[in-house]
């Protein structure tokens, strides 16, 4: 179902957790609130749930105004029909799996047969039907996660919210549950709101990502768009771009840009227009876009340097390369993609001007 958040503001004393936030979530959409801890993403989720009372603004879920500061409307959480999977799962250890899942249906005073039927349906969906009568304190982390999910799904919520749903799981389980979560969401056509600080999780789960910094949405868009075109250097940094340098951009006749890196002799060509750079511009290059070769290449962006550190990571090798012109770059060299280099080797680092972005340090929403 549709959710609309208008001019939402949340203050704790003089600290502003959420500043004038506007957000519309479409029916059946999976929206991810992405940001560092303290950016206001969990607070936003808790405001939608009703666990937090915003200072001002309006929240509409499924055409029902659940919060409106001006009209003094504040529907309690249990009247909002919002499902929430907590980061800690909050599965009740003093009940069995089935009792946990049946809880919301008992609150609705449904008949016992209907409760049993819907509980089994939900447990089957998450693959836990053999565990129905097991005490919830005896489950593993992944199983608890599934109980929490089933417990929220069984109430058929207008919107399902998940707070860092995968952060407490080990890496292998995380990958599997990420796919499963997306599958269940698409299968049921659920409107979902995720909160996470992990960009990989966000990319995998989202139809749309809202990136929060300092209580504001600083960029919103499809995952791929977000990955390819971060709006600022600080967003790029958050999304894992590791080479970020202050620069002075100068326009060229062909419409491209020459960026002079501050405090060094390095200049970098970018296909981007200089006028797009904005205030205090920075050059941003992803580690995986850098090519490392033993010989110089024909490209305009090809610089000599020395391998200072080479760290084997399985699929690839992470290099720290000290350029002769000053800066040190972080580069990924694929094992299968090409040559390997040793510490102390003299190498050339090349990057396509199209992969070089010149971005403002920050953007304001």
């Amino acid at each position: 179902m549709k959710i609309s958040i208008q001019n939402l503001q949340l203050k704790y004393g003089s600290f502003t957790a959420i500043e004038n936030l506007n957000l519309d979530i479409e029916d059946g959409e999976a929206l991810v609130l992405l940001g560092q801890s303290g950016c206001g993403k969990t607070s936003t989720m808790r405001c939608i749930a009703g666990l937090e009372e915003p200072t001002s603004g309006r929240i509409i879920i499924d055409d029902v105004v659940v919060f409106d500061s001006e009209k003094g409307i504040n529907l309690p959480p249990n009247k909002r029909n919002v499902g929430m999977v907590f980061q800690s799962y909050a599965v009740w250890p003093h009940m069995t799996v089935a009792q946990n899942v049946a809880y919301s249906l008992k609150q609705k005073k449904l008949s016992k047969s209907e409760i049993d039927e819907r509980v089994m349906e939900a447990l089957t969906l998450v693959g836990l039907e053999p565990y129905a009568d097991r005490g919830a304190s005896l489950l593993s982390g992944g199983q608890m996660q599934r109980v929490a999910l089933a417990r929220s799904l069984v109430m058929r919520p207008s919107v399902l919210m998940l707070d860092e749903p995968l952060s407490n799981l080990d890496a292998r389980l995380r990958d599997r549950l990420r796919v499963e979560l997306r599958e269940i969401q698409l299968q049921l056509g659920l409107t979902c709101v995720y909160v996470t600080h992990d960009q990989h999780e966000a990319f995998a789960l989202a139809d749309r990502i809202a990136l929060l910094q300092g209580g504001r949405i600083v960029q919103m868009g499809a995952p791929q768009h977000m990955y390819e075109a971060p709006a600022s250097a600080s967003i790029a940094h958050f999304l894992g771009v590791s080479n970020i340098m202050d620069c002075t951009p100068e326009g060229t006749a062909t419409g491209s840009t020459t960026a002079r890196i501050t405090n060094s002799e390095l200049t970098i060509q970018s296909a981007q227009q200089a006028s797009d750079a904005g205030a205090s511009p920075k050059v941003c290059i992803r580690a995986e876009d850098l090519q490392i070769t033993a010989m110089p290449t024909e490209h305009p962006n090809s610089w000599p340097g020395t391998v200072r550190v080479a760290g084997f990571q399985g699929n690839d090798i992470r290099y720290a390369i000290q350029l002769e012109s000053g800066p040190e770059l972080d580069a990924l060299g694929g094992l299968r993609r090409g040559e390997q280099h040793k510490v102390g080797d003299r190498v050339w680092v090349t990057v396509n001007p199209r992969e070089v972005q010149i971005l403002p340090a920050e953007v304001l929403a």
Binding site: S4, Q6, L51, E70, G72, P76, P77, N78, G83, S104
Partner: protein
């Protein structure tokens, strides 16, 4: 409805409709704010009547020429004349004695507690589990009973130890009725507090910190001196100051041991002023104010020291700290611990048993107790069957149960408001709930007496007022226990029930209470145990029909019936022992749960 139309509609509305009065919104806000704070204000009012009002009345009486009574409470008779009493040699002597008693017994308790804690937590001495029991055991003997037992052991004329010395032909009687005697008895019975604090500090200490010292080349002794001792220092100081505070305000021991010697401390001096005929209530109140101020200062210092401790030694790591090899001293150290056990538990218990079982009231030689028919259960059985005892037992249990139930409920609601709601009065509630920590029980008792004579609720003379006193005096312990348990529980557990459609009260009943069951039960038992032992506040509040066990012991002793006092004490300890075993069971359940 799509968002665009909603927005457009809102905008149109804003343009066309006259803006509603903003004042209405504000009124609605204030009203909802009031509604949100209502439970908090009710709890605050209850705690105010329980704790603040009694203190206020004591303070008022200290600066007034009359006692607060219905119809005569006014600010008209304000005077500073009561303060003149404070300059008399009696008052000054009592103050000096109190300070000396506090300092002396803190030192003794610290030496014993530190020794036992070190041996138990960090050495390779044999029987360490039993030494842990030794460290805690005296806690289960009410201080009043301990004092009574030691007066049976070492009263100059008829004490068993003195009789034994005489049997041996040694003509040097140990007189427990003296200032050193008082310090000794308080020291040994308050050592468990120092022991428990130091034991937890020594055994929870992060082993890595010590190992780091060893890795960097420090031998064992240097490590103990430069790392272990500084890390344990806050606990050492904190426990010494705690014992100082507890013993300074102690009334029963000071009364039993100090009174025969003519040694007054502030609490016994207050009691004497209150029980004089006519009662010198206003003077008593002014002495009470002095004692309270002193205790508040000491408690503040103690809280400061203890709060610092959190940052230095507590860690979650399961690494066990290193043991110190005692070599030749292994057995001697254990024997010293056993000697303390003898002095604090075995000898007192034997003395009480002997006193309650001896056939003749006067014993001139220890061999007399070994003769046939010299010991019998007659007195114990007589006491057990007496109306006095049965009534007191019933009263004690009833008072303790009511106090435990009411106190735990109040503690739960208070900590819920403090830690689970945004109510603005939460912090104030906590402050008031913790205040009795810094108020002597005897002062609380006087204040409660005046409060409940004043209030229209006629509970004076009933068991209810004794239960009220226990709730007020032990509120800090109960509140701390419940809120610690509440803080350990993830708030999400309750919130998720609300998210799933349950109302807030339903969620608390379905989720929070069941999950806090063990913590709540522990607090309940703590209230129960402490209330069973309470004397200092009840002594102003009981009537002939509402005597409880501690009062019965005290009265019997006061009237010179030491055999009856001993017999009641034995049974009293038995009841408390049974409660302790139940508490242990519940505590054990908690450990297996986690």
């Amino acid at each position: 409805m799509s968002l665009k139309t909603t927005e457009a509609a809102t905008r149109a509305e804003a343009r066309l409709a006259p803006k509603p009065e903003p004042r209405d919104y504000r009124a609605a806000r204030t009203l909802s704010g009031l509604r949100k704070n209502t439970p908090g204000l009710i709890v605050l009012a209850i705690l105010g009547v329980l704790i603040v009002l009694p203190l206020a009345l004591v303070l008022l009486a200290a600066f007034s020429d009359s006692v607060p009574r219905p119809g005569s409470i006014s600010l008209g008779g304000l005077t500073l004349s009561n303060l003149a009493l404070l300059a008399t040699p009696e008052a000054l002597g009592a103050l000096v004695n109190s300070l000396m008693v506090g300092a002396g017994s803190a030192l003794i308790a610290l030496l014993i507690g530190a020794f036992l804690a070190f041996v138990c937590a960090r050495s390779d001495a044999p029987w360490r589990k039993f030494i842990f029991f030794i460290g805690m055991a005296p806690m289960f003997i009410p201080a009043l009973v301990g004092a009574l037992a030691w007066s049976l052991l070492c009263s100059p004329s008829a004490g068993y130890i003195n009789i034994f010395l005489r049997d041996l032909g040694i003509d040097a009687a140990i007189n427990i009725y003296s200032l050193p005697g008082l310090v000794f008895v308080l020291g040994i019975f308050y050592a468990p507090y120092a022991f428990l604090l130091l034991h937890s500090s020594l055994s929870m200490m992060n082993a890595d910190l010590e190992e780091a010292a060893t890795v960097h080349g420090a031998p064992l002794r240097t490590m103990l001196r430069t790392v272990t001792l500084p890390l344990a220092l806050p606990a050492i100081l904190g426990s010494a100051v705690l014992v100082f505070a507890l013993t300074m305000e102690n009334f029963p021991v000071a009364q039993v041991i100090g009174n025969p010697a003519g040694v007054d401390t502030l609490p016994t001096y207050i009691y004497r002023l209150m029980s004089a005929t006519p009662a010198k209530s206003n003077q008593a109140a002014s002495v009470a104010v002095i004692l309270t101020v002193a205790l508040m200062a000491v408690t503040l210092i103690q809280q400061r020291i203890i709060n610092k401790r959190k940052f230095t030694t507590m860690t979650g790591k399961g690494n066990r700290p290193r043991q110190v090899p005692l070599r030749k001293m292994r057995w001697p150290f254990t024997i010293i611990a056993l000697a303390y056990f003898a002095v604090s538990v075995v000898l007192p218990m034997l003395a009480l048993l002997a006193a309650s079982m001896q056939a003749t009231p006067f014993v001139s030689s220890m061999s007399q107790l070994l003769e046939a028919n010299s010991l019998s259960f007659a007195k114990l059985i007589e006491v057990l069957g007496s109306n006095d005892f049965q009534l007191a037992l019933k009263n004690s249990v009833l008072v303790a149960l009511i106090a435990a139930f009411a106190g735990t409920t109040l503690s739960f609601i208070a900590s819920y408001i403090r830690y689970r709601t945004k109510s603005k009065v939460g912090r104030l509630i906590e402050l008031v709930a913790m205040t009795p920590l810094a108020v002597p029980a005897i002062v609380m008792g006087i204040g409660l007496l005046w409060t409940w004579l004043l209030l229209p609720l006629p509970i004076y003379g009933t068991l209810a007022i004794l239960a009220v006193a226990c709730v007020a005096v032990f509120m800090p312990q109960g509140y701390r226990g419940v809120s610690a348990s509440m803080l350990q529980m993830d708030q999400d557990l309750e919130d998720s029930a609300v998210m799933l459609g349950a109302g807030r009260t339903r969620s608390v009943l379905d989720v929070t209470l069941p999950l806090m069951r063990v913590g709540i039960m522990s607090s309940f038992l703590l209230f129960l145990m402490l209330s069973m032992r309470e004397l200092s506040a009840s002594i102003f509040l009981f009537t002939s029909n509402t005597r409880i066990l501690s009062i019965l012991v005290f009265d019997n002793f006061d009237n010179g019936q030491s055999q009856a006092a001993a017999a009641v004490s034995v049974l009293y300890c038995l009841v408390i022992g049974i409660l302790a075993v139940i508490a242990q069971k519940v505590g054990g359940e908690r450990k297996t749960k986690n």
